[in-house]
């Protein structure tokens, strides 16, 4: 591009439009983050489902894996931040959205633990007094719906902001699963959670990864 070429008014507007479009088209996610979280949540949900279905217990709480997954996620975020040549306004918004999501999940886990701790003795006493009329209410079943509600939100926003339809549709599917889970038992809830994590993170993550690798291949050639 010549440094001092004088432009006509029309050429100037065309150049502005062309450059804005070039900047817009520069979004690329490596897909590792969605693949990581999609795999972890799907695995944890299916493992918990298997524990209930086949009546066994793992020697540790499988959901601790989601805490362990934070470590590689931190490294992935730092590495991707270093590799990034451009920081768009959408990237900043997405950063805030996913940070808020992470904090919301942490708060929800604490709120759920507190509710269960308060409800358990009440139901134990009630069951003792009532005898054969036991309460079938299981708060855990509803907490799955709350998690699905939260999972869907950042996925829909990410899909909409980046115009990446697989994640947008995955997020919508997650909210559909959220509604179904309100009326389903805990086992179905866990299957719905595994399905949602696969649909909104794992599959879109694989698509993003393939796109990213293709782009890398093209830029090498």
């Amino acid at each position: 591009m010549a440094e001092e070429k004088q432009l006509t008014e029309k050429e100037s507007l065309q150049l502005i439009q062309q450059m804005i479009n070039k900047a817009k088209g520069s979004y690329h996610d490596t897909g590792i983050g969605p693949i990581l979280w999609g795999s972890v949540i799907t695995f944890c949900s299916l493992a918990t489902f298997a524990e209930i279905q086949f009546n066994f217990e793992l020697p540790f709480d499988v959901w601790l894996l989601s805490l362990v997954a934070i470590i590689p996620q931190v490294f992935i975020s730092i590495r991707e931040g270093r590799m990034r040549k451009v920081l768009k306004y959408e990237d900043v918004a997405l950063g805030y959205i996913w940070t808020c999501f992470g904090i919301s999940i942490f708060l929800l886990i604490n709120i759920n633990a507190s509710i269960i701790a308060h409800l358990d003795p009440i139901f134990t006493d009630y069951n003792k007094l009532k005898g054969p009329h036991e309460i079938t209410f299981d708060y855990n079943s509803y907490s799955t719906s709350l998690f699905l509600l939260l999972y869907g939100m950042p996925s829909i926003l990410t899909g909409a902001l980046t115009k990446f339809k697989p994640m947008l549709y995955g997020g919508i599917l997650c909210w559909v699963c959220c509604i179904i889970s309100v009326y389903a038992n805990i086992k179905t809830d866990l299957l719905l959670m595994a399905f949602s994590a696969t649909a909104m993170w794992l599959i879109p993550g694989i698509i993003l990864r393939r796109r990213y690798l293709n782009k890398l291949e093209c830029s090498k050639n």
């Binding site: 591009m1 010549a2 440094e3 001092e4 070429k5 004088q6 432009l7 008014e9 029309k10 100037s12 507007l13 150049l15 502005i16 062309q18 450059m19 804005i20 070039k22 900047a23 817009k24 520069s26 270093r82 040549k85 451009v86 920081l87 768009k88 306004y89 990237d91 900043v92």
Partner: protein
């Protein structure tokens, strides 16, 4: 009476750089070079001119032991760009039959 087009922006490469930077929060020198297809030396001179005009901030730092230059549009730059587009539109409206 038309306002005069800002001479700092009314040049192909500088306008291209500003158009890129108006759409993003910040961009590396390499990114701008790739998108504008300019040579490093040429781009460097034009970036310096935009910096001297106060239209962009240029941050020089080390990334993984390599020097890295990041450019970011300033408030003055946004205002100048908006004014430039307004004047352009005025010119084009008059020229249209």
């Amino acid at each position: 009476m038309f306002k005069e087009l800002d001479p700092i922006l009314h040049s192909q490469l500088r306008l291209a750089v500003m158009s890129l930077l108006i759409s993003v929060k910040q961009a590396d020198f390499i990114f701008i070079k790739e998108k504008t297809n300019a040579t490093a030396g040429n781009l460097s001179v034009q970036v310096q001119k935009l910096k001297e005009a106060g239209y962009i901030d240029v941050i020089k730092e080390f990334k993984d032991n390599y020097p890295n230059t990041t450019c970011k549009i300033t408030k003055k730059g946004i205002q100048a760009f908006e004014d430039y587009v307004k004047v352009l539109q005025e010119y084009l409206q008059v020229k249209q039959p």
